[in-house]
């Protein structure tokens, strides 16, 4: 009977976000004078969500819930039905209650922290929207709905990293973080599509019950797709650097997004898909490897961080790596407890980060382990975060940029000239002066004589043939032939060399290999 209440857990923050957003856009909720009103709306919405989440949790503990609440149909196309349903029992509800409480705390904290900031109303709009997205993500029972929350949370994260949008570094990092996460999103969508094409359903529960019926290739494929999504969202090994970039946002948002709530979405996804991963040894192996790598990498890099937010964030990603490891080893219960405990502790640490000086006044920060401090190259590597960002730039961003540059040139100078500019357009009068010139008969740019002009099809063909023979004769026979031919040959040779050089660039080789693989696949 309490199942229906679950709908309102994400709905009320969404409503709050709508009111604040429309208010700010229409010019009502602006300025310091309206700050208390905005803060009240957001706090009220989040408190209500927590209260409801706790109620649903209580009902679940007492065994009053059915487990699933069907809300209706979102999209239908032939035999494809995307239903909206909420899971109202077990881990999902517990996590929803925890996250809702943490979000409320963050909101309370931010009311004072953000006072008189330029984007006060914008901040609370985004916080409420994020709360709605996150609670929706945790509660929803279908892959597509979870993805909605997943992606909207990502957009909120983008906008909060770029909160101080007049600072170039902040927006640069925001873009980078969003695009990095987009790779994980692609994995998520691939997982959704594969699931649909194999079991014709979008339901998490259906997917989990079908886990044993899949062939090993199928189950590993699904597990890998969702593992990539989880790795990107929870900042696992190759993706870890985005987390440090995300520290540009205001402290309450760092606390709630990257300390307490959003980074745990990846681990949540893994725990949700426990039956699938249990059947997929390849997926489990991937989790173990990335978890270990992330934990080691974050520990190592975290040793040399000099500001409080960076060192906290690397401590956080190390813990997330351990959670991945636990999932990979099949210790699901441990991973879920770890998740919840880490969310609380790390959230608290971030909230108190601005007051760090008060805490360390009697306990000075320990110096770096001498083992690393003395080995200079290790120290540099840790300080440079193992050049992971630079390596990504070199291996991925630069080649793609280069490819884009080459293609853009190709488009303008080859395709456009081959197809796009018919001769009349070149000679068309584009300015008044040109038209005057033409009407006066001053054909300044005219370099061919009108002697051989044909009309009709036959006439034109004769004309073209005559022009061709004339050109041939003039270029190769009348002029000192050998020299000119050599020139043309040299030109062609240079062109061929150029093409070969371009094609042999690593990015094209990689591209060709990739295309070949796609076609073979």
């Amino acid at each position: 009977m309490f199942d229906a209440l679950a709908v309102f857990i994400p709905l009320i923050p969404l409503l709050g976000a709508l009111i604040i957003g429309l208010g700010a856009l229409s010019g009502f909720l602006v300025g310091e004078y309206r700050e208390p009103l905005t803060a009240d709306i957001a706090t009220w919405a989040l408190s209500m969500a927590s209260l409801l989440a706790l109620t649903v949790l209580g009902a679940d503990i007492l065994g009053e819930n059915d487990g699933v609440f069907h809300l209706g149909n979102w999209l239908t196309s032939d035999n494809l039905n995307i239903n909206v349903s909420l899971i109202t029992s077990g881990f999902n509800v517990k996590l929803a209650a925890l996250f809702a409480l943490l979000l409320t705390v963050a909101c309370k904290f931010a009311v004072n922290y953000m006072h008189r900031e330029a984007g006060f109303h914008r901040f609370f709009f985004l916080l409420s929207l994020f709360a709605a997205a996150m609670l929706w993500l945790v509660l929803s029972g279908s892959t597509v709905c979870t993805f909605m929350g997943w992606e909207i949370a990502g957009v909120c994260s983008y906008l909060l990293i770029g909160y101080a949008y007049d600072r170039p570094v902040a927006t640069q990092n925001a873009t980078r973080v969003f695009v990095t996460n987009r790779i994980g999103d692609a994995g998520f969508v691939a997982g959704i599509a594969l699931t649909y094409s194999w079991i014709n359903s979008f339901d998490w529960l259906d997917l989990n019950t079908a886990a044993t019926e899949f062939s090993s290739g199928q189950v590993n494929g699904i597990a890998l797709c969702f593992a990539v999504a989880a790795m990107a969202k929870s900042a696992q090994f190759p993706f870890t650097p985005w987390l440090a970039r995300a520290m540009e946002g205001p402290t309450p948002s760092s606390a709630i997004f990257y300390g307490a709530v959003m980074v745990h979405a990846g681990v949540f996804l893994l725990i949700l898909l426990q039956p699938i991963f249990a059947q997929a040894p390849l997926g489990m192996a991937l989790l173990i490897v990335t978890g270990l790598l992330t934990a080691a990498y974050s520990f190592f890099v975290g040793l040399t961080q000099t500001d409080v937010k960076s060192s906290l964030i690397f401590a956080g990603s190390a813990q997330l790596g351990l959670m991945f490891l636990e999932c990979g080893l099949g210790l699901w219960q441990l991973a879920s407890w770890h998740l919840a405990a880490h969310a609380v502790v790390r959230g608290y640490q971030f909230f108190t980060a601005p007051a760090l000086m008060h805490q360390v006044i009697n306990t000075p920060i320990k110096p770096l382990m001498p083992g690393i401090a003395k080995v200079r190259w290790l120290y540099t590597a840790a300080l440079q975060r193992c050049w992971l960002d630079q390596i990504t730039d070199w291996a991925l961003v630069k080649p793609i940029r280069g490819l884009a540059h080459d293609l853009s040139y190709f488009d303008d100078y080859v395709i456009d000239r081959l197809i796009g500019v018919p001769a009349p357009a070149i000679r068309a009068a584009s300015s008044f002066a040109q038209q005057e010139e033409q009407s006066l008969g001053a054909r300044l740019e005219n370099d061919y004589d009108n002697f051989a002009q044909g009309t009709g099809l036959a006439g034109k063909i004769t004309e073209w043939f005559a022009a061709l023979s004339h050109w041939f004769e003039e270029r190769f026979i009348l002029r000192t032939a050998p020299k000119d031919v050599a020139g043309v040959e040299r030109k062609f040779g240079r062109l061929a060399n150029n093409i070969e050089r371009i094609i042999l660039r690593p990015r094209y080789l990689v591209l060709f290999v990739f295309i070949t693989l796609l076609i073979a696949f």
Binding site: T76, S77, L80, I152, A190, S408
Partner: protein
């Protein structure tokens, strides 16, 4: 096929044409009001038509107007809409209203400008509703005249004349294969009747759909039709007119060109159904062409620094995705394709109109001239961001259900191409957000006085014309079924026409081919 008392479609085609003449003869200062009134009336009629449309019979052509036109060659004046095409009518009307509002302050030749916009609207509605191939071809080519003058006379670039000529010549050359294909189809019909060529000719689309086409001709017809439509769609390598037009042409017209994808619509409506077995056989080639277009244009978009060129390439890239969706030959792909085509009229055109607003205020849409605009134009920035998110396909906007359907459709048919589509999704986030960062975020490039005309946020009229598509984008993202239900039956019928054909006709087609080859003696 239900007959209504009122020839609604003819009214819809003729009203803007007559209205154009009226605008031409109205006083200069009243011209825009008259034009706006006519466009609004047209929009209301299209909405009324939509409300009268019988969704339960969506697979049949409705509101059919059928009169004899040129009886000696069997051409008729036949208009009608089914579930696939009916939604394009209100979208075209809405877009024309937006275009008129956006060019409200056109300074010179006002009457001609608004008359041409209305004429273009009438002809475009003709393209969407023509059911006679000759009539379709007439409307198709008639779109060129208004567009030629609109680019040439009101373009904002210095080479607008060149751009107008280039556009017209490319479109005319695209028309040639189209006409060839139409003639082949008509002759083929005559050949299967008694063989009397002028009497037995027909250009009626419903009749030609039922006429079997020999396998030997199917491939040619498909190739010619696809070639003709590819120029207008546009597909690589016939796309070079769009970036040129976007830079040189007036933004209200470019918004119409990027918003109403006549080429892709023609592909869906005519090219594949008229050569069904070839379409099934060669769909994978179409898919590969679409994938190349998608990735190629997305990579070039990454390199653009001008918003209008960027949007042109973004729209080419999205067309690539639509073409892959159509070629996947399942209901999800087709419905996603139609959905995405309708999205263009909301999203791509709104972004292009916003580019026009920026151009009008600041004299440029180059990234180096912009920067920090979110500070002085918060409303314009917020709405642009919403449309940018919709273009990326973020959940909550109408871009998401369309892209999801397309991806699911593609995954179930060509998994290899789907990987390319996912890469395109990552790239689209990259190019949109990189430009957005450069234009709207960061420090202001020069000091703006708040009362300055340069720093003006959205005017009420601009606010209105963007609010309508913005509301629709959010509504369709929330409830995609309201749109999908209309086209459901038509998409299924479209598909079964294609897929059931080869099974039924395997032997008859072969026999007919033999008889065609032997009968002339």
């Amino acid at each position: 096929m239900n007959e209504t008392g009122l020839p609604l479609l003819s009214l819809l085609v003729l009203l803007p044409l007559i209205g154009g003449v009226m605008v031409g003869y109205s006083p200069e200062r009243l011209a825009r009001s008259v034009a706006l009134t006519i466009a609004v009336v047209e929009l209301l009629i299209t909405l009324w038509l939509l409300s009268q449309f019988n969704v339960a019979q969506g697979q049949h052509f409705q509101f059919v107007d059928n009169y004899q036109w040129i009886p000696s060659i069997g051409a008729s004046y036949m208009l009608g809409v089914d579930g696939l095409s009916v939604l394009f009518l209100p979208m075209s009307a809405l877009l024309t209203v937006s275009a008129i509002l956006a060019s409200w302050q056109t300074a010179h030749l006002k009457r001609l400008h608004f008359a041409l916009l209305l004429a273009l609207e009438g002809v475009t509605i003709g393209v969407f509703s023509a059911l006679d191939l000759l009539l379709f071809f007439l409307f198709w080519e008639l779109t060129l005249a208004p567009i030629f003058f609109l680019i040439g006379l009101w373009g904002i670039g210095p080479k607008r004349r060149n751009a107008a000529t280039k556009y017209t010549l490319m479109m005319l050359s695209g028309g040639v294969p189209l006409l060839f294909a139409i003639i082949i189809l008509a002759l083929n019909h005559a050949g299967f009747g008694s063989g009397h060529v002028p009497q037995e000719l027909t250009f009626s689309f419903p009749v030609l759909l039922e006429t079997p086409l020999p396998d030997a001709l199917q491939g040619w017809v498909l190739l010619l039709l696809v070639l003709g439509f590819a120029v207008k769609a546009p597909l690589v390598p016939f796309h070079t007119w769009l970036p040129t037009t976007a830079i040189e042409g007036p933004t209200q017209l470019t918004a119409l060109l990027t918003g109403l994808k006549l080429g892709a619509f023609g592909m869906l409506r005519f090219a594949l159904p008229l050569a069904p077995s070839a379409a099934v056989q060669y769909s994978w080639i179409l898919g590969i062409v679409g994938a190349i277009t998608l990735i190629y244009a997305a990579l070039i978009a990454l390199q653009q620094s001008n918003l209008r060129r960027l949007l042109a390439y973004a729209s080419i890239s999205h067309v690539g995705l639509v073409i892959i969706g159509i070629s996947s030959l399942n209901v999800q792909g087709v419905q996603g394709a139609v959905f995405q085509l309708l999205n263009f009229s909301l999203i791509a055109s709104s972004l292009m109109l916003i580019a026009g607003f920026l151009q009008h205020r600041l004299g440029s849409t180059e990234m180096v001239h912009l920067g920090g605009l979110a500070k002085i134009m918060p409303r314009l920035a917020s709405l642009s961001f919403l449309f940018a998110l919709a273009s990326i396909g973020v959940p909550g906007t109408s871009g998401f259900p369309a892209e999801l359907l397309l991806l699911i459709g593609i995954f179930t048919s060509h998994a290899g191409i789907a990987v390319a589509a996912l890469a395109g999704a990552v790239l689209s986030a990259a190019y949109m957000l990189i430009y957005f960062r450069g234009a709207f975020f960061g420090p202001l490039k020069r000091p703006y006085n708040p009362n300055d005309a340069l720093a003006l946020d959205l005017r009420p009229r601009e606010w209105l014309l963007l609010a309508a598509p913005a509301a629709l984008v959010l509504w369709l993202g929330f409830s995609p079924n309201s749109l999908l239900n209309t086209q459901q039956l038509a998409a299924e019928a479209w598909l079964s026409h294609l897929l059931d054909q080869p099974v039924i006709n395997v032997t008859p087609v072969a026999e007919q081919t033999d008889s065609v080859l032997t009968s002339p003696e």
